[in-house]
Amino acid sequence: MFFWKTWKALSDAGVMGINRRNADYVLKYNKRHLYPVVDDKILTKERAIAAGIHVPELYGIIETEKDFDKFDSIVANHRDFVIKPAQGAGGDGIIVIADRFEGMYKTVGGKIISRDEIGHHISSILSGLYSLGGHRDRVLIEYRVTPDQIFKSISYEGVPDIRIICLMGYPVMAMLRLPTRQSNGKANLHQGAIGVGVDLATGITLKGTWLNKIISKHPDTTNEVDGVQLPDWNGFMRLAASCYELSGLGYIGVDLVLDQDKGPLILELNARPGLNIQIANDAGLTTRAHIVERHLAQLKKEGREESVEERVAFSQKHFGKLPNAPMSSDEANAGTA
């Protein structure tokens, strides 16, 4: 029967479903009262700055309709900037202004919009249109990330970002998310962006996923997405791993970008990271999570905790997928046993 065979095959591969993610990881490792830290991007940013973690520079915050008067002074010294709802989800409600044009603003897509239109958009955000629970929100205006040139050939508009899922500060899986024409420059998988798996040990890209299928070429640029070496990979890993101390949440997806001037930056944290990362990596999250959980139990017995560097090293040792990380397949098997 298709049903049982598929079920069995998926569970053998250690693939994590939504129910398991919610029951065993999100509910278990993420304390509810800590959610505001990740749900509100302004709070995340404040915490990150306090911890000395790199984030895109915050230009200003608009909290009320009246505050819109401050808009001009906030963006006065910047030609390009990003307008974001503080509690938005899935990249909704974000406007990226790339340039000025005759007193108007030009979005990254080339559309010219007036100051009034921006005002309307900001007031929509404030009234809670994009916020998770529909309640009032704040607007943040921040530095516009310029993606590193490395992504030029494998990305269509927008800013590609790197999602690293961390369990108790151990990176377990990573994915490069590339905007497509279909996703309107957004790096969100369910809007049509493609996800490309990243080898944790080396930072070399693997095959990708697009609309739940496994692919190896970017649909718009038709360039191969696999085999690309991401620069400063250890920097990414360290940033992601340190987000555990920053947020206190045990199971998070850390979204990072690679700015051509400022290097790896943390964009936001997600307390319920999606599961398509498994298709991009052609690997199951449950398998890897179990390896980390066993390691944590071992550490607890020994009564010690590991530093960010040790955690990154552990992950790179166990979760490398490419041939130059020989441990991986054995460990993966051990994990399912």
Partner: protein, 508 residues
Amino acid sequence: MQSINLHLKILIATLVALGVLITGYQIYVLDIPVTEDETDDIWSLDAKVEFRAVPGTPIKAQFFIPPLDQEYVSLNESFISNNYGVSINNQKGNRRVTWSSRRASGTQTLYYRLVLTKRYSEEQAKAAPPPTPQPVQLEGPEQVAADALINPIRQHSADIETFISETIRRVNDITDDNVKLLLAGGTSAMDKARVIDLLLSNARIPLELVHTIRLENTEAQTPELWLRSYNGERWLYFHPETGQQGIPDNRLVWWTGSDPLLALEGGRQANVTLTVSNSEMNALRLAKLTTQNSASALLEYSLYGLPLQSQRVYQVMIMIPVGVLVILILRNLIGMQTLGTFTPVLIALAFRETELGWGIALFTLITALGLSLRSYLEHLKLQMLPRLSVVLTFVVLVIAAISLFSHKLGLEKALAVSLFPMVILTMTIERLSITWEERGGAQSLKAAVGTLIAATLAHLLMTIPELTYFVFTFPAVLLILVAFMLAMGRYRGYRLTELMRFKALIKS
């Protein structure tokens, strides 16, 4: 984590056990019927007393009515008599109604009606055994005839039971001279019963004349006479003419003793008609009626104790958890997408009033109209709250318009659309249009269809009459439902749609 799991397991087990125990108690101990279709027989006994009043004299009609301490329980008893005083008195295990009037003229008609059903509970008041009789003093030839009969009977019998049978057999042999003499020309069952009583009283065996009625659908019955005696353990019934022993189940004792059914003063040409008719009634409603009359606490603490009006509301309300369960299964086990978590349940509730086909059609129509308005409003760049208010007002107007048109067209069903939860519709439209803009038409259609399917399923399940009855009568099953929901809260398996989603991950 381990202790939480244990805690959860204990909680689930406790809830299931509680649910099963309470429901089992209700079904097996309180004997509440499991389905609504279980019906019980209801007997309605009608007695009509007709007579001509003798002018100028007060009228007093004494009429036996069935005692209520039998294996049948009274649901309703009524006396219909114009201008008559009614009083009931108990005497020697009998009940007797006395109709009285100072004066009356012409034909008088008095009615008595008793509605009965078999007793639910086992407890049953036993009629007290009659006292040992004093021998009836006879004189001359009658004494001789009685002695001549009793002596062989005594020889041919071993105990009370056989003694009575033998007596009945002998008395029914009307060729016997001794019997003839004692009967003094009468051959009715009553006469024979009198002689049997006489003979038995000489043997100091207590005997009671029992006038019974057959619980059968018949017009105009005459009470059937049975004899009974108490042998120290139980009542023995005998038919005075056939000698048949044991009374059939469908006989109801109307009165005992040798007095006639009706004793009339101040009237002539009395005529009594007894009619028995049978009807069936929902067993539960019956149980309820019996409760009211016999004051047993059978259903006192159930939802049936509520006033009828609120019962109807609760019958809907108590099914909501079932609808929620449907959503839970559809979302967490199957992985279907719906707009909002409990929106489908609310839509399902609205379907109750509109009927399914109409409900789906109207829901689709209103949502489609609302969506087109919403997409028009999008161009006007309005803020959220004013925009939502506009959509809500529009929804109200559309509903009013649909009602008006359908009323003009004679489609009364569509009028029920006004019961659609308008705020829910508005929110559905808003969510749908946001999904449409952000995720595209395909995604939003998927969610909308999912919502409709979920609402339909929930509606179908919530309106199964047997299920509604069961949950309403045995609300403890909701505890089992809660246990299942708790278990679902820790379900880690794949959702059905995930099997498709992750198909690419299966190594061939």
